[in-house]
């Protein structure tokens, strides 16, 4: 199964990944609703990073009380089954699942062809 991978040594913190993710999933450029959150910032004379993205660990699917989440080559959320209970978001070790519009919003790696990887200008994000 191919997964997103990220290396901070190449990341320039441009957030093109979050912009294009939200474009494909939310229909506008709205990084606050992206399904990954990768950024760098300065703090007290140091360059720091924060990176939240789905690593396909499967914890969300295992904990879903209504079996709305399935993982094949990528994650699928059945919105009809999802009760927006928030357990998946709570258990997600990367804290990247959001509950909105009464459903869990989880990265599906654009069905195995992630746009964020295509957008990454420095190959900090890869899919392998």
């Amino acid at each position: 199964m191919k997964r997103l991978k990220w290396g901070k040594e190449k990341c320039i913190g441009c957030q093109l990944c979050a912009q294009v993710c939200s474009a494909m999933k939310e229909g506008e450029y709205i990084p606050s609703r992206a399904r990954l959150d990768i950024e760098s910032y300065y703090d007290r004379g140091a360059l720091k990073y924060e990176a939240s993205y789905c690593i396909l660990c499967g914890i969300c699917a295992k904990n879903c009380p209504v079996e709305a989440i399935t993982i094949d080559e990528y994650i699928t959320v059945d919105d009809d089954k999802c009760i927006a209970c928030g357990i998946c978001a709570e258990k997600c070790p990367k804290h990247i699942i959001k509950i909105r519009d009464e459903a869990a919003k989880i990265c599906d790696t654009c069905k195995g062809d992630p746009t964020c990887v295509k957008a990454c200008p420095q190959n900090a994000l890869t899919f392998a």
């Binding site: 913190g13 441009c14 093109l16 606050s32 300065y42 004379g45 360059l47 200008p121």
Partner: protein, 586 residues
């Protein structure tokens, strides 16, 4: 039109109120965004003749339709006001993430009017605006303020702040954001300081809508990979603007000892290869792609860059060849909130004044430690710093040394020696805010590409016009300088994709020329004309002694010839004035 938020946030600092109004779409159609749009608004709203440091001045933060989209290198913000250094229009371009946060907060532009009753700062959280007492941050360094405010309000806020220099109304002061990004020139920090506003914090959680977002995004990504990420642009990732050091030294335009000569044999002591050994990370602006930011640490000195300008002014132009000093100078200038170019130029002018025995400012070429000390004195308005903070124009009018006061209209020279690139003397002279290298970058044609003879006046009016028009539209799209290969065709294509209105390739230079004209109209209204489009006398009197441009000087007649050519191409008269008929079209 899509791309825009169609909203201007107008903040009245005097009565601590905020209103939202529609964006003037008639202006947006004619000037697109960012630089052009900001200048058009200021032309409309500022009363001619106002004191730039009074509550009558306005401070504009302006984005463009591309801001917040993945169009590469579109993360720049225009910060504009009437300049206290020059009295001209002054629009600065700052990177980082501020532009994106403003757009995501729902605004195309923020206008700050009036003046806070006492020092404070403004926090913008989407539609909410708060005015907060600034006692805890007033008087401290810009970096220190950013750290304090990030801790207090949360890292999701972008911070724009001034240092002590801005608070003290120093005309060399800048605005910082993301620690190491600056709206550097023309004393823009003093305008913020004159409003008692130490900082602005912005958090935006909204989005930007465009037509046909899937196809628009895919096409933008094709442009990113096919055009932006080509070698002609990606060199900035490896070396940033330190790459210019070798090119400028080889081309005979790296200034030495306050522009008394060019070319430094010891340039490898502080070049990009040396500086990059201290690199501790890479960072770009929002929506970047190229990632020019080199985060460096040499012992206790930290900066992002250092940019070519800072290397030159704290290096060979100051008679200093020490990488640590360059980085420390950059850091101290940032934290104190002063522009490295104008502050550096003022100190090196003082060095030459002392060396020549005209006036003893107590500092000579090579005095690295004193140079750092003087930056703090300037920012804090103490001792000799009180005088030096006035900049080279006002100082030379008082103490002498006007021939080698390297400035136009009160804005100090960037670090490209015009005797090795004659067109640069014209570019500095006619730039809308005094000597600026970002308005028409002549060395690109005259030295690096060698597409035109650098030591002649012939063709330079047209060359500076062409370069100026190009940058004027590019910066009005809020595109970064470092996307050097962008064409009018690509500009029109991305604008069309994002706004849904059809923009044509031919329309781009028309808008660019209009931006140059509105800036000139503003300055003309303030009384500027040919008498102010000047060149320091040194360039006509003294021939260079070293390097590939040895023997070169720029005769006054050649300079006047270039000015005449430029005015003719612009459709201005011999006095550099634009006719009323032209102003009416703006």
């Amino acid at each position: 039109m899509y791309g825009y938020q169609n909203k201007v946030l107008r903040i009245n600092l005097t009565d601590e109120s905020a209103t939202v109004e529609p964006l003037r779409m008639d202006f947006a159609e004619k000037y697109v965004g960012s630089k052009g749009l900001a200048i058009r608004y200021l032309y409309e709203e500022l009363v001619p003749g106002i004191d730039p440091l009074s509550a009558d001045n306005k401070l504009l933060f302006t984005t463009g339709p591309l801001t917040g989209t993945p169009v590469p290198c579109s993360g720049k913000l225009s910060i504009a006001a009437k300049s206290p250094a020059t009295g001209t229009i002054n629009d600065c371009s700052i990177g980082g993430h501020a532009a994106l946060k403003i757009k995501y907060a729902g605004y195309d532009m923020i206008i700050f009017e009036g003046k806070l009753q006492k020092p404070g700062y403004v926090v913008i959280t989407d539609e909410q605006v708060e005015f907060i007492d600034g006692a805890e941050v007033w008087g401290i360094g810009s970096h220190d303020a950013e750290t304090f405010l990030s801790d207090k309000h949360g890292r999701e806020y972008v911070v724009l702040s001034i240092g002590p220099a801005g608070e003290n109304l120093v005309p060399l002061s800048c605005i910082n954001s993301d620690y190491y990004r600056q709206a550097g020139r023309g004393g823009i920090g003093a305008v913020m300081g004159s409003k008692n506003m130490k900082a602005v914090l912005i958090k935006g959680t909204g989005g930007v809508k465009v037509p046909d977002i899937v196809n628009t995004t895919n096409r933008i990504l094709d442009i990113l990979h096919e055009d932006t990420l080509q070698e002609d642009n990606t060199f900035v990732f490896d070396l940033g603007t330190t790459a210019f050091l070798e090119a400028c030294n080889d081309g005979g335009i790296l200034p030495v000892n306050n522009f008394s000569d060019t070319t430094d044999e010891e340039w490898t002591q502080y070049n990009g290869d040396v500086l990059m050994e201290y690199r501790d990370g890479k960072r770009g602006c929002g929506s970047c792609g190229l990632g020019c930011g080199n985060f460096l640490k040499i012992n206790d000195a930290v900066c992002e860059g250092p940019e070519y300008e800072s290397i030159s002014v704290a290096g060979p132009n100051a008679g200093i060849r020490d990488p640590y000093h360059i980085v420390k100078f950059n850091e101290v200038c940032d934290n104190m909130g002063v522009d490295t170019i104008s502050t550096g130029d003022t100190i090196i002018w003082a060095m030459e004044m002392t060396e020549k025995g005209i006036y003893d400012f107590g500092i000579r070429f090579g005095d690295a430690e004193k140079m750092l000390e003087y930056v703090e004195l300037i920012a804090r308005q103490e001792g000799i710093g009180i005088e030096l903070s006035k900049g080279t124009k006002r100082l030379s009018e008082k103490y002498g040394g006007t021939d080698f006061a390297m400035q136009v209209k009160g804005l100090e020279y960037p670090q490209y020696e015009p005797r090795g690139s004659w067109g640069m003397s014209l570019a500095y002279a006619v730039s809308d805010r005094g000597a600026c290298h970002m308005r028409a970058y002549a060395p690109n044609e005259e030295v690096f590409a060698a597409s035109i003879d650098p030591y002649t006046a012939a063709g330079k009016g047209q060359m500076v016009y062409d370069l100026g028009v190009f940058n004027a539209i590019k910066f009005s799209l809020c595109i970064c300088d470092f996307w050097g290969t962008i064409s009018y065709e690509i500009m029109a294509e991305v604008l069309t994709l994002v706004t849904g209105r059809t923009w044509t390739e031919d329309e781009m230079p028309v808008i660019g020329e209009r931006v140059l004209n509105i800036a000139r109209a503003f300055n003309q209204r303030e009384g500027f004309n040919r008498k102010d489009d000047t060149m320091p006398k040194r360039l006509a009197k003294d021939a260079l002694k070293n390097g590939p441009a040895a023997g070169q000087k720029i005769p006054e007649e050649a300079f006047e010839d270039m000015l005449n050519q430029y005015y003719e191409v612009m459709g201005w008269d011999k006095n550099g004035m634009m006719p009323e008929s032209l102003i009416a079209t703006l």
